[in-house]
C-alpha cells in the first residue's frame, strides 16, 4: 500500500520536547504512527505525552532500547545537521528532516557523508511523508487525504496539501505522499522516489509537484522517459516568479538562466508527462 513508511515503521522523534516536536508527535500518534521514542539531549529519562513516549539523550540509546528504524527531525536549524549525522551513525536507514533553514555548507557535508553510508535522508525542509491509513511521519495533515493508488512526490508543503485535498474531494486516494523538501541540497530526489513508485505494486499513477530552481524536474523528466511506465501528472509552481529572487524556499530561485518553470514544463511534457495549469486540475487527469 505504500513506500518507505508503513504500519511497521518504528519512529523516533529528534527534538521531541520542542514546541513543534511535541505538537506533531501528538498528531502522528493520533494518526496511528508507532512513535517509540523521542530524543532530546539533556532530557533523557523523562516521558512525554502523558507518559506514552520515553525521551533519551542520544539516538544510539533510543534505538538500543526501542528498536526504532526511522527518525524524524524537528531540531533547530543550527543543530539539525548534527542530528542527521547522529541518526546516520546510529544506523537508522530512513531519516526525515523537517527543519528548514540549515546552512547550505552543513548540508553539503551531510550529503557527502550520506553518499558513503547506507542511510536515506528525506529533506531537509520537508513536510515529511504520509502513507494514508498506515503511517504519518512529519507534518502533513492526516485528514486531507485517503488511501488509494496515486503516488505523490513534491518539493513543496502546503501546495501538496492543496493537491491531496483536491484529490480527496474527488474521492481519489494516495499510496504514499513524499515531500522531498524545498532546499537546494537534499537527501532524496524526485528520481529516487519515482523509481520506488514504479516498482510499488500499489501505486498506479504518479503525481509530481515541482517548482522553479535547480534542474531536478529536468532530470526527473529524463528518468521518466527512460524508466517510468506508469502515467505521471505534474504541476510546476513559479511560472510567474522573476529571475534572481528566492521565492520562500531556499531552493526556489532562477539563477543564471537555469531553473525556469517553462524549461521544466517543456522537459516534462516531452517526456510524456501531463503538466497541468492549475493544481486542482490534477484530479481530472487521474480519473
Amino acid at each position: 500500500m505504500s513506500i518507505l513508511i508503513n504500519k511497521d515503521t518504528r519512529l523516533i522523534v529528534q527534538g521531541i520536547t520542542g514546541r513543534e516536536g511535541i505538537f506533531h508527535t501528538s498528531r502522528m500518534m493520533e494518526y496511528g504512527t508507532q512513535v517509540v521514542a523521542g530524543v532530546t539531549p539533556g532530557k533523557g529519562g523523562e516521558w512525554v505525552l502523558e507518559g506514552k513516549v520515553p525521551v533519551f539523550d542520544t539516538v544510539h540509546h533510543a534505538i538500543e532500547i526501542t528498536g526504532a528504524n526511522t527518525s524524524v527531525i524537528f531540531v533547530p536549524a543550527r543543530f539539525a545537521h548534527d542530528a542527521v549525522l547522529e541518526a546516520v551513525d546510529a544506523g537508522l536507514t530512513l531519516i526525515v528532516c523537517i527543519t528548514e533553514g540549515i546552512p547550505i555548507r552543513d548540508m553539503m557535508k551531510v550529503r557527502q557523508y550520506l553518499n558513503q553510508q547506507g542511510s536515506r535522508l528525506i529533506g531537509p525542509n520537508s513536510p515529511g511523508m504520509l502513507s494514508p491509513g498506515e503511517c504519518k511521519v512529519g507534518i502533513i495533515p492526516g485528514h486531507i487525504t485517503q488511501p488509494g493508488n496515486i503516488g505523490v512526490v513534491s518539493r513543496s508543503g502546503t501546495l501538496t496539501y492543496e493537491v491531496l485535498y483536491a484529490l480527496k474531494l474527488q474521492a481519489i486516494g494516495v499510496s504514499t505522499c513524499v515531500g522531498i523538501g524545498g532546499d537546494p541540497i537534499y537527501g532524496t530526489s524526485f528520481i529516487d522516489v519515482l523509481g520506488m513508485f514504479e516498482v510499488d505494486a500499489h501505486t498506479d499513477k504518479i503525481v509530481l509537484i515541482g517548482e522553479i530552481g535547480g534542474t531536478e524536474e529536468e532530470q526527473a523528466a529524463e528518468y521518466i522517459s527512460d524508466h517510468i511506465t506508469k502515467p505521471v501528472i505534474a504541476f510546476i509552481a513559479g511560472r510567474t516568479a522573476p529571475p534572481g529572487k528566492r521565492m520562500g524556499h531556499a531552493g526556489a530561485i532562477v539563477e543564471g538562466g537555469a531553473g525556469l518553470a517553462s524549461d521544466k514544463i517543456a522537459a516534462l511534457e516531452s517526456a510524456g508527462v501531463s503538466v497541468v495549469e492549475y493544481p486542482e486540475n490534477i484530479a481530472d487527469f487521474l480519473k
Binding site: 536549524a77 555548507r105 553539503m108 507534518i139 513559479g238 528566492r246 521565492m247 492549475y278
Partner: protein, 381 residues
C-alpha cells in the same frame, strides 16, 4: 546577504589574497586624506551593492589628492540604480597587464562548491559564459576535503596562465576558498584578478554573498549588512519573519507556504492579471503576523485587489481571519479582498470574514477568478 567590495577584499586579504593598498572613506575630505597617504594616482570606487558602477560613473581614476576629493564628492552624491552611495573605496592604482576571473560558488546540481576561472576577467562572467563558454574552466570541490592544490593548478594550466604566476595563483585560489568557507559564503569572487606591470597578482575587485541561514554563526559578518540592500518593505518583512518579494503586478497575495504562494501567483496570471508580490506567511502564523503581512501588501500603491489563500494545517484559519480583520479595522482600506481559507478551523475563519463582508472563495481558482474580476472592476471605477 551581500558584502561591499571593500569588506570582501578585506576578508580576502585576511586569507592571504593580495589586494591593493587602500581604505574606505565616508566623506570627500577623508578620501583626500587617504589619497595623500597612498601617494600617486588612486581610484575612487562607489560602494553600492549593485553591478554596473563603472558605467554609472561610480568609478573614477584621479591623480592628485585634490582630484580625489572632488571625485569622491561627486560619487558620494550619486544614486546608482536607485541606491545612494554612502561610502567610497580609495585604492592605489595598479598597472594592469591582464585580467583574470576567479570565483567560487555552490553548484547545486553537483551538491558541492565549484571554483570557476577564466582568462577573460574584468567583465561579467555570466556574459562570458554565454558568449565564450569554452573560456570558462570549472572544478568541483569536495566539501569535506576542501580545495586541493592540484585542482588550483589545473585551473592555472587550463586558463593558460604563465608558469611564473602559478605558485601565487594557487595560493590565491586557496585563500579565496578559505574566505568562502570560513564566511559561509554562497559566492566569493575576484573580478578582475590582475597581473600587474611588475608581475604581481592582485585582487582588484571583490564580491561576496553570504548564506543568510548561516549568519547565526557569523555575528561579525551579520553586523555588516547594508540596509540599502533591501527595500524598506523587504526589511520589514524580514523583521516579521515573512518571506516577501515585490513584483510589478496589481494583485496583492498572502499565502501560507512558498510553493502554494507561487502556485497562487501562477493562477492569478492564468486569469489574466499580474501578482503584486510573493508573500509566504510561513507555518503557524498568528493574527499579529497575518496583520503585518497584510499591512505590507496594502502599503504597495500598485495593489488593486488582494487575494488571501490559506491551507490551514498548523496555521489556524480563525487566527488568519482575526489578523485580516484587525488590519481592516486599522487601515479602513477600500482595496477589495478575496479570502480562501481551508483546513484547521476553516468554518470559524470563514464566518468571521463573512461577518466583516470580506469576499470568500471555495478554491484557489475560484479565489483567483474573483480577485481578478474585482481588480478589473476597481480599475474601471
Amino acid at each position: 546577504m551581500k558584502l561591499h567590495e571593500y569588506r570582501s577584499k578585506l576578508l580576502f586579504s585576511k586569507c592571504g589574497v593580495p589586494i591593493p593598498r587602500g581604505r574606505v572613506a565616508l566623506t570627500a575630505h577623508e578620501a583626500k586624506t587617504i589619497a595623500r597617504e597612498l601617494g600617486g594616482p588612486v581610484v575612487i570606487k562607489a560602494q553600492v551593492l549593485v553591478g554596473g558602477r563603472g558605467k554609472a560613473g561610480g568609478i573614477r581614476l584621479v591623480h592628485t589628492p585634490e582630484e580625489a576629493e572632488e571625485a569622491a564628492r561627486q560619487i558620494l552624491g550619486m544614486q546608482i540604480k536607485g541606491l545612494p552611495v554612502r561610502k567610497v573605496l580609495v585604492d592605489e592604482v595598479a598597472e594592469i597587464r591582464s585580467e583574470i576571473y576567479l570565483g567560487v560558488t555552490n553548484d547545486r546540481a553537483a551538491r558541492c562548491p565549484v571554483m570557476i576561472a577564466s582568462a577573460e576577467g574584468g567583465i561579467d562572467i555570466e556574459e562570458v559564459a554565454r558568449t565564450h563558454p569554452e573560456k570558462i574552466v570549472r572544478i568541483h570541490i569536495d566539501p569535506l576535503l576542501g580545495l586541493r592544490e592540484y585542482q588550483a593548478r589545473h585551473l592555472a594550466v587550463s586558463i593558460e596562465l604563465p608558469r611564473v604566476h602559478w605558485r601565487n595563483f594557487i595560493d590565491i585560489a586557496c585563500g579565496l576558498y578559505k574566505a568562502f568557507t570560513v564566511s559561509d559564503a554562497t559566492l566569493a569572487e575576484i573580478n578582475p584578478l590582475v597581473i600587474t606591470g611588475d608581475n604581481r597578482l592582485l585582487a582588484l575587485d571583490g564580491k561576496m554573498v553570504l548564506d543568510d541561514n548561516a549568519l547565526f554563526r557569523q555575528p561579525d559578518l551579520a553586523e555588516m549588512r547594508d540596509l540599502d540592500e533591501e527595500t524598506p518593505t523587504e526589511r520589514e518583512a524580514r523583521r516579521y519573519g515573512l518571506s516577501y518579494v515585490k513584483l510589478d503586478g496589481t494583485i496583492g497575495c498572502m499565502v501560507n507556504g512558498a510553493g502554494l504562494a507561487m502556485a497562487s501567483m501562477d493562477v492569478i496570471n492564468s486569469f489574466g492579471a499580474q501578482p503584486a508580490n510573493f508573500l509566504d506567511i510561513g507555518g503557524g502564523a498568528g493574527a499579529e503576523k497575518v496583520a503585518a503581512a497584510l499591512h505590507l501588501i496594502l502599503k504597495d500603491a500598485n495593489v488593486q485587489a488582494v487575494m488571501i489563500n490559506i491551507f490551514g494545517g498548523i496555521t489556524r484559519c480563525d487566527e488568519v481571519a482575526r489578523g485580516i480583520l484587525a488590519t481592516l479595522d486599522e487601515f479602513k482600506s477600500d482595496i477589495p479582498m478575496v479570502a480562501r481559507l481551508v483546513g484547521t478551523n476553516e468554518e470559524e475563519g470563514n464566518k468571521l470574514l463573512a461577518e466583516a463582508n470580506v469576499i470568500t472563495a471555495t478554491s484557489l481558482t475560484d479565489a483567483a477568478e474573483k480577485v481578478v474580476a474585482l481588480a478589473v472592476e476597481s480599475q474601471l471605477q
